[in-house]
Each structure stands twice: as C-alpha cells, then as structure tokens.
C-alpha cells in the first residue's frame, strides 16, 4: 500500500463527500420491483412496551396485539360505528343495558392448539381486573363498569356479563386490547394471575387466537409475526405470511427505507412528508382521525394569573391556529371546536362544530386590558412574570408550535420560555409537582365514544377525571358528564354535552388546536389497507400486488 494509494484514496473520499453533499436532491430512483412479496415491513419509532393485552396501553404494543389476540367483537376496515362478530357470534343486552349475553364461536383454536371456550373469556376479564395493569393502568377501562364477579359462564360457548352500573358504550370497551382473550392454560402454566404484578412471560410471549403469532421480538430492533396456521378465519384470499415491524428512531432511516422499497409502511413526521410525497411508488394518503392536539393550561399553577378565565381566553385568541395547521402539520390538520373531535358522535353539540376562538391578537389585547392586565412601562404584562411552555423532547410539530406561540406571546407583551423535557420528567412535572403553566399535549381514542374525551379533559378530579391535572373544576360540567356517561337516551346525552360546552368554552382549561390527519405513507404495491382510528393496524387485511 504505497503512498500514492493512500493519498488518492483519501482525496477521493473527500471529493466524493463534498461533491455529494453539495449536489442537492439528485433523483436516483430506479424502477424497483416488489421487494419481499410475502412480507409486510413497517418502519416505525419506539418499541412495544409489553405484549400482554391486560397491561398494554401504548400504540406500539397495540400494533402487535391487534393481530395476535382477538376480542369478542371487532371492527371491519375503517368503520368505527358498527361492531362485527369476532370470538362472539352474536350478543344481546337487557333493556337497562346492565346485562350483556354473548354466544361464542365454536371450534376456534389458540395458536398452540388449545381450544377456545367461555372459560378463557371469564379468565381474561377477571385477570385484567385482578392484575389491575401494574405498569400501564389500562385496567380502568374495564374496572369503570365491571368487577370480578360480573362475568358468568352459562355453558361452554355462552357468557353473561352484568355491569356494576349501566354503560351504553360497553361494547366499544371490548373492542380495545384490554378486552382481548388470552389462553387460560398457557397463562396458568407461566405464572398465572397475581394481583398488582405483571406476568413476565406474557410480556415477551403471546398465544392468541388471531391470524398471526409471534416469531420473535428483539427489543428496539424488530418484532416479527408469522402466519398462525390454525386461525379460525382461514387463509384463503390474499394475505401475507410474515410481518416485520422494525424500530428506527432516525427519520432519515425511515424515509430512505420507504424510498428504496425496503419498507411497505413507514412512520414519517409531517415536516418530512415532502421527501416522500410524489416519489414514484409511494402513496401519501391522509385519513381523518380522532388524534387531537391541545395546549393544556394549569389553573392551579403558582403563576396565579392562569386561574383567571379572561387570561386563558386571551391565550386562546393569541394562538395562531392557521400557522400550526400550515407550518407544523403541513396542512394535515383541521380545527377542533371543543373536547369532542369532529366525526365522533355528539361533536355537533359544540357550537355545531364551528371553533369559537380564532387567532386575533387585538381581541386578546382587549380582553387583557379590560381585565386590568395592562402593559407596564417596558411593555410587559403581568409585571413581567414568565409563562413557562413545555413539550416532550423529540416531537417536531410541538417544537414548531411552541416557538411560534412564544413569539405570539412576546407580541402580546407576555414573557415566556420554551423548555423541552423527556417524557418521565414532563409527566412528573405535570402530575407530582404540578409546577408548570403551559404544556403541548395530545390525546388518542381508547374507544369510540365522546366520554373518552370530554371526561378526562373537563371532568374534575372529584369525579376521578382531570387526567391532565389542570385543576379545572365546575360542578355543573361534572354533573353533565356523569349524566351523559350513564344514559343511553340520545336526547338527554346531547343536552348534557351542550350545557357542559357552553360553560367550559368561556372558561377554557385548554386551547383546542386541532385534529390532525393520520398519514401512514406506504408503497403503492400494498393493497387492502384502510385506516381505523380505534384499531390502527390489522395485518390480516393487507397484501402485496
């Protein structure tokens, strides 16, 4: 290796690097035939927290559990209204919507060959209630209207569930992973059910009745699912044999994987959509979703001004909604009128869907001046107290919105800081110390019912809600929420939500920004995909052509 080679190699490397980095986006797209046709590959961020349906609450875990386990009822394609039979063939409810009876599907087998019977159903529900989801607390979805002696086995294939109190939306609860059925024999063989402790084995392994079973899970690398041969739904028609969910936290990795065909689906942040939009072979299809974007305001913060309704109204006027939509979410977001997202039942009770607040600094100034919070001599209101804005590290959209909101507040004469924190620190600040003023937050549906939104947002801590710990409380609103929760009469529920809206909209505990459209860029050779906000991924439906 004489000196010429070393010199040339080194110069070559340098020139190549510099030339490449200055040559801008030279298209190098070549016609790519379908890559690994019998496998679906999904490049996403994060890693499932657990594969145990009784303890899973994060989307990453859901991506796997939805296709391995099954519930009594299920959804079809994008339809979130009607419930389709799954492990239960048909069901009936008593007119006081207290007792629900399910007839179970016969000769269904788990992936390890064990038979599926009513015993497994009772075992699964009781297990959720006894374990009480030590890690994630997801059990509240069932424990809000069930207890361990709710489920009764009538015979091998019939189950009767008596709720602790009547709940109209009960069926929707069974659609979420917490209501999915595990194999009693397998769980008993691996540590069974122990109160308040998670089952280590069930966290890393899975035996379900669903179309796929777990091949292997290498943490923070990939989850691989393979065909479950004795799936009761059968394998005729077009399906894929293998599903690979790869973890790639770097956006560049996911973008390139999609462009060169390695990835069939990829989670791409909004600001990078332009890298994949319009590329041949890539579909960027937005779907309306119930994922809402909010700014929560702490009414009991040591910055006492936030306790005043006028201040929070002014803040709602100061927020540049259009810029958030155009610049943070690149147009893939629509305005959110109130707690209930547009598209969910009863959303029309919120000023029939028309947002009350808009970006209007003049109005904001007027409200603050009328309320007596005028600017002092060097132009700052609230005698220069600092309003602290927080968001969780790594979220590009929230970073854009908080910096832009900071600039609006400075315009308005309010001093503010933007601090980014990792999830644990932020949650600790939000709940334990409530030492915060403004936080950019979001919320996704657990089940397709307005109660899953309005209760946690504006319900007070007294009725076990106020999930964001804003400290906001209004008796009438509480009353209305409870009334709407436990009635099945449409009219009654609509009036309750209407009254609650008229109260909280003028004393807003949070700024309702918008409802972002869900986008999952994918290769054009993927068929059978449809977006269902309450159940994002069902690999059984997809195939490649």
């Amino acid at each position: 290796m004489n000196n010429k080679k070393v010199g040339l190699l080194a110069i070559g490397m340098c020139l190549l690097m510099i030339a490449a980095s200055f040559s801008g986006c030279v298209e190098t797209e070549t016609e790519i035939e379908i890559k690994n046709p019998d496998t679906i590959v999904f490049y996403t961020i994060g890693d499932p927290k657990t594969l145990d349906p009784a303890d899973a609450y994060d989307t990453a875990s859901g991506e796997v559990i939805f296709s391995i386990y099954e519930g009594l009822i299920t959804y079809k394609g994008a339809d979130t209204e009607t419930f389709y039979p799954s492990l239960a063939t048909d069901w009936s409810v008593s007119n006081d919507s207290l007792t629900w009876t399910f007839n179970l599907r016969e000769n269904v087998k788990f992936s390890n060959g064990n038979d599926f019977t009513a015993e497994d159903v009772k075992y699964s529900f009781d297990r959720v209630l006894i374990m009480d989801a030590p890690e994630s607390g997801v059990s509240w979805i069932l424990s809000q209207c069930m207890d361990t002696n709710s489920t009764k086995i009538i015979d091998d294939y019939t189950i009767e569930i008596t709720l602790t109190d009547p709940y109209g939306g009960f069926l929707a609860l069974l659609g979420y992973t917490v209501g999915y059925i595990v194999d009693k024999e397998t769980v008993e063989a691996h540590g069974g059910v122990v109160a308040d402790t998670e089952n280590e084995w069930m966290k890393e392994h899975a035996v379900g009745t669903g179309p796929y079973m777990l091949d292997h899970w290498t943490h923070k690398t990939e989850v691989v699912l393979v065909k479950n041969e004795n799936y009761w739904g059968g394998w005729d028609g077009k399906h894929v044999d293998k599903v690979v969910i790869k973890t790639a936290d770097e956006p560049a990795t996911r973008i390139l994987a999609l462009l060169n065909g390695d990835a069939d689906f990829a989670y791409i942040p909004y600001e990078n959509l332009e890298d994949v939009e319009g590329e041949d072979g890539v579909i960027v299809q937005p779907y309306d979703s119930y994922d809402v974007v909010l700014v929560i305001l702490n009414t009991k913060s040591n910055n006492a001004y936030l306790a005043e309704a006028e201040v929070r109204q002014a803040l709602s006027y100061a927020f540049n909604y259009q810029s958030a939509i155009d610049d943070a979410y690149i147009g893939y977001m629509s305005r959110l009128p109130g707690c209930i997202p547009v598209g969910m039942p009863y959303y029309e009770t919120q000023n029939n869907g028309v947002p009350v607040y808009d970006y209007d600094l003049v109005e904001a100034e007027k409200i603050l001046d009328d309320a007596g919070y005028t600017e002092n001599d060097d132009g700052y209101r609230f005698n220069a107290t600092t309003f602290r804005i927080f968001y969780n590290a790594g979220n590009a959209e929230r970073l854009k919105m908080s910096l832009s909101f900071q600039q609006e507040l400075t315009e308005l004469g309010i001093i503010s800081t933007v601090t980014t924190e990792g999830w644990p620190q932020l949650l600790h600040r939000m709940f334990a110390t409530s030492d915060w003023d403004i936080i950019f937050m979001g919320w996704g549906p657990d089940y397709n019912d307005p109660d899953d939104y309005i209760a946690p947002f504006v319900g007070s801590a007294d009725i076990g809600q106020d999930t964001y710990n804003t400290g906001w409380k209004n008796e009438t609103v509480d009353e209305m929420i409870l009334k709407a929760k436990y009635t099945t009469d449409h009219e009654e529920r609509s009036d309750a939500y209407q009254t609650a809206f008229d109260i909280y909209i003028h004393d807003p505990p949070m700024i309702f920004i918008g409802q972002r459209q869900y986008i999952r860029p994918m290769r054009d050779w993927v068929q059978g995909y449809s977006y269902n906000p309450v159940r994002e991924w069902y690999w059984y439906d997809y195939y490649k052509e």
Binding site: S21, C25, P251, E271, D327, A393
Partner: protein, 290 residues
C-alpha cells in the same frame, strides 16, 4: 522560537483559522443580517436568565443558499448564516470557559497532589482514576442529563469531566520538575511549598499545559456539540451549532445546507485548535523537532 513556528505550514493554517473564528466572534453583530433579540426570563430557581430569540416567519422556510440568505434558511425561516456566525460567540465562550475552569481546578489539585504527595496524592489520584474510567461523552451525558437542558449545564458537565485530565497532567509535571536542582535550591532557601509550586513549578510546566489546553479547546467543542446533538444542549431557539445539526438532520434530504454549514463551522474551529496545538507541541517538544 518563532521562526520554527513559521516553518510548519499546518500550524500556520491553524493560527489563521483561529484568528478568523475569533474575528467573526468579535464582529458578529456587524456581520449578521438577522439579529437575535434577548428577553430576560425568570428561571425555576428564581434567578433570571437572558434567553436568545430568533424571529420566526414560516414564509421563507427552508430556502436554499442565495443572495439574501448566504447559507439558506432553516425550517423556522431563520437565516442560518446569521445563526452560524452568532454561534461562534456561544461556542468560543463555552470552550474557553470550560477549559480554563477545568485547568484551574486541575492545576490546583494536580499541583497539590504532585507536590505534597502522600495521602492527598493518593486520594486525588484515585478520584481522577474514577473520573477517567468513564469516557468523556458518557460521563458528560449523564451529568448534563441530571442538570437539565441548557448551555450552562453542558458547561458544568464538561468541567466536571475535564478537570481530572489536567490534574493528572500537572501531577506528572510537578513530579518530574520537583526533582530538578533549582527546586531543591529554592526549598533550601526556605521558600514555602506554595511559593515553589507557583513560582517555579507552574511556569515550567506551562508549555505542555499550553499544548493540552489548545487541543482540548477543540475536543471540548466536539463533545459539547455531541451533547447538543443528542438533545441535552441549548434550549431549542438558540444558535448553537450542535443543536442546529440535530434539528437539521431530518431535513437532510430536501435541505442539505441546514446540516452542512453548522458542521463546517465546527470543523473549521476545531481544526484550527488542533493545528495550532500541534504546532505548539512541535515547537516545545524538542524530540519531535527533527
């Protein structure tokens, strides 16, 4: 001495780069097009801190380099050229502060350990062993994460990580110089330990120290940029090079300039320090002069 310095071409380049960077840092306010505004903010601990703000206008988001934006703009529409130039001040301030503080701590502890020896030496050396048992970036990462996200905390973290190196360097120097006759002579004349340490030993260990300081200025900058890159650095609005690269990396495919220019700025500054450090070492270390 100086004619040797002129000889080595590389160290001349180094000196030129450093002078360029210092020049930019000093005249930054005149060179930049967009100016940051400063707002005094009260922090959680009740103190006040001045925060840097750059105006956001999303209209000219991600414009390629052109006449009105030499280095193009970032995804907030801020002028990258101005931020990179302004960033020189932050970076230089950071690495100078860290290296000087670390040197002072290191010199005192190293000097004491080396000169007085015995128990103190043992303790100090064991403590430096512990610190040096963990690679720089990882220890700095843990400390910065503990203190929270800000430039000041990165500075603290880097000081904590960097002083042991100087302590060890100084101790070595002190041990070797202590044996020389002129130190014996000074002691025989009744000079106190501290006097000897500062009058005789430190001036003589100055040249290896100078070399180490110059090289470390570059190394500190690299580690600081690394910390900001992971997300432990400055708060999102500030013009800090590591942070800019971190924020720019997602736009690499449609905005190559967002990542390239801050990276070049780091490269040029650190290169300057390294070349300069090498030049000084070549001069002061006779063995290498051949």
């Amino acid at each position: 001495m100086l004619h040797l310095f002129r000889h080595s071409l590389l160290s001349m380049i180094g000196l030129a780069l450093i002078l360029l960077v210092v020049f930019i840092a000093i005249f930054a306010p005149l060179l930049i097009q967009e100016h940051p505004s400063y707002v005094e903010v009260s922090t959680d601990q009740g103190t006040t801190r001045v925060e840097e703000r750059w105006d956001i206008n999303f209209e000219n988001k991600l414009l390629p380099p052109g006449p009105e934006h030499y280095f193009g703009t970032d995804d907030f529409g801020r002028d990258i050229y101005s931020m990179v130039v302004w960033g020189t001040q932050i970076s230089l301030k950071l690495c100078l502060m860290v290296v000087l503080t670390a040197t002072i701590i290191g010199v005192i502890l190293g000097g004491v350990a080396g000169y007085f020896g015995g128990k103190i030496d043992e303790i100090i050396m064991r403590v430096t062993d512990v610190f040096l048992a963990i690679p720089y970036l990882i220890l700095a990462m843990a400390v910065a994460a503990a203190l929270g996200r800000s430039i000041e905390n990165i500075m603290m973290a880097l000081i904590v990580v960097w002083w042991p190196q100087y302590a060890r360097l100084l101790r070595g120097q002190v041990l070797s110089i202590r044996e020389n006759q002129y130190v014996e002579a000074a002691r025989s004349v009744g000079a106190s330990g501290w006097r000897i340490l500062f009058r005789h030993i430190l001036p003589n260990s100055f040249s290896p120290l100078l070399v180490q300081i110059t090289l470390d200025l570059g190394a500190v900058l690299l580690v600081a940029a690394g910390l900001s890159f992971i997300g432990l650095g400055a708060s999102p609005g500030t013009a800090e090079w590591g942070l800019m690269i971190s924020m720019g990396r997602t736009h690499m495919f449609h905005a190559w300039w967002y990542v390239t220019f801050p990276g070049l700025a780091i490269l040029i500054t650190v290169l300057g320090f390294n070349l300069l450090g090498d030049g000084i070492r070549d001069i002061t270390d006779p063995k290498l002069r051949r």
